[in-house]
């Protein structure tokens, strides 16, 4: 394959991944690394480097739109970014030390988990919980615009959420993904942050988390310009288009298809990881 063909095809695949990831809310990054390694036989370390860069692009692009709407909570974001950035450094450090087959296996497990969590209904944050003293001291409680006017919320289980976010950061740094699935677990389930707030705030954090490990990847020589270019431009264009389209009616079946794709890719990654041909 010539560089021109490779750039064109990888750009197109990345565009579709970004589009589907944005339409379904599952993120494009999670399918990119398996697609690059399985379809294009790219070394997983190059694939992770390119994916990580595209994660920064999409998250920053989307966060720019979200912050203006007033849903994201910058204090929650800033506080949890301490956990995710340290986690990301740790993950990037691990990625340079453990064999690529082990990375593939972890990737497979995370994909299966993402496919699973995308099928179970989201639990809604309980309303009017009493304030947690630690959350009050950290000033994490906030409000957001709702149909009935401003709705306030009280953040719960701060230590559990913080620890889970360290894990989310580590996975992000190890696998080059946004690890939205773990963030959902930490912010929606543990910390009881309302859906809109947790989605937009976690999007806000993904860019900083990915930048923390991207620095390591870049200085270790894992970011190849010839590969990262079509991936980053493709995913960015796809996700921007996706956020404009917002075809709500189709999202349900689209989500099902996309989570099936994630499931198949997860099994593929486990297969390559266990049989060592990666």
């Amino acid at each position: 394959m010539t560089i021109l063909e490779f750039t064109g095809i990888v750009g197109l695949v990345s565009f579709v991944a970004g589009l589907l990831g944005s339409l379904t809310g599952l993120g494009g990054g999670v399918v990119l690394v398996p697609l690059l390694t399985i379809l294009f036989h790219v070394d997983i370390r190059y694939a992770i480097g390119a994916s990580l860069v595209s994660v920064i692009a999409t998250s920053s692009g989307a966060a720019a739109a979200y912050v203006k709407e007033g849903f994201s909570n910058i204090r929650i974001g800033m506080f949890l970014e301490i956990a995710t950035t340290f986690g990301a450094l740790f993950g990037a450090f691990l990625a340079t030390r453990i064999p690529t087959t082990a990375i593939a296996i972890v990737f497979g497990v995370v994909l299966l988990y993402s496919a699973f969590i995308s099928r179970i209904p989201r639990t809604h944050a309980q309303r009017n919980l009493p304030p947690d003293p630690l959350a009050t001291r950290l000033r994490l409680n906030g409000s957001f615009p709702d149909l009935e006017g401003e709705r306030t919320y009280n953040v719960q289980h701060v230590p559990a959420g913080f620890s889970l976010m360290f894990g989310a950061g580590a996975l992000s740094g190890l696998l080059g993904i946004g690890s939205g699935a773990v963030k959902v677990l930490a912010m929606d389930q543990a910390m009881q942050i309302p859906f809109k707030v947790s989605t937009t705030t976690s999007n806000f954090m993904i860019g900083v988390t990915a930048a923390a490990s991207a620095g390591v990847y870049l200085s270790r020589g894992y970011v190849d310009p010839g590969l990262a270019m079509p991936v980053m431009l493709g995913v960015l264009a796809g996700s921007l288009l996706g956020s404009r389209l917002l075809i709500k009616a189709e999202t349900k079946s689209l989500r099902l298809v996309f989570s099936l794709v994630i499931l198949v890719l997860g099994l593929q990654m486990l297969d390559t990881g266990f049989w060592g041909h990666i």
Binding site: T7, D43, A57, I74, R75, L218, S219, R220, P225, G226
Partner: protein, 144 residues
């Protein structure tokens, strides 16, 4: 905890509104910073792509074997050097550096915002995050 109580004392709605207003203003500035960074880096990457493809379009692409990038593509001075030499891949890498710098700029602006709100606790939190980001970009190469 030295942060002033005024900013978020639950029983004084007036103060809370003022703090929320500053929060909102910071959020809008952060949104602009993020958008500018992403657009700028995409333009630079596109420009690099044009140079790169015009010169290397018909060579073979192969990413099967991991070799690691040469130092000109993995250090900031190296990238700047290849930008000056008008290398397509150097320009792409420069665009990617701008992209990595975008969240760092966002964190810097957040520090300014929290300083304006006299929120020392969050200034400290944000400085920790900034430290991790700078270490990753500037200090991690030699050590790992």
């Amino acid at each position: 905890m030295n942060a002033p109580v005024v900013a978020f004392k639950p029983n004084s709605p007036r103060e809370e509104t003022r703090s929320n207003w500053t929060d909102r203003r910071i959020e809008i500035i952060l949104g602009t910073v993020l958008r500018t960074g992403v657009v700028l880096s995409a333009v630079v990457v596109l420009w690099g792509a044009a140079i790169y493809l015009s010169r290397h379009a018909h060579q073979a692409a192969d990413y099967r074997i991991f070799r690691g990038e040469p130092s000109e593509f993995r250090t900031i001075p190296g990238v700047i050097h290849s930008v000056i030499k008008v290398q397509g891949r150097g320009w792409i890498q420069f665009g990617l550096l701008l992209l990595i710098a975008t969240p760092i700029a966002r964190v810097l602006f957040s520090i300014a915002g929290f300083v304006l709100e006299r929120d020392r606790l969050y200034v400290a939190f944000t400085l920790v995050v900034l430290g991790v980001l700078l270490y990753s970009l500037l200090g991690s190469g030699a050590r790992f």
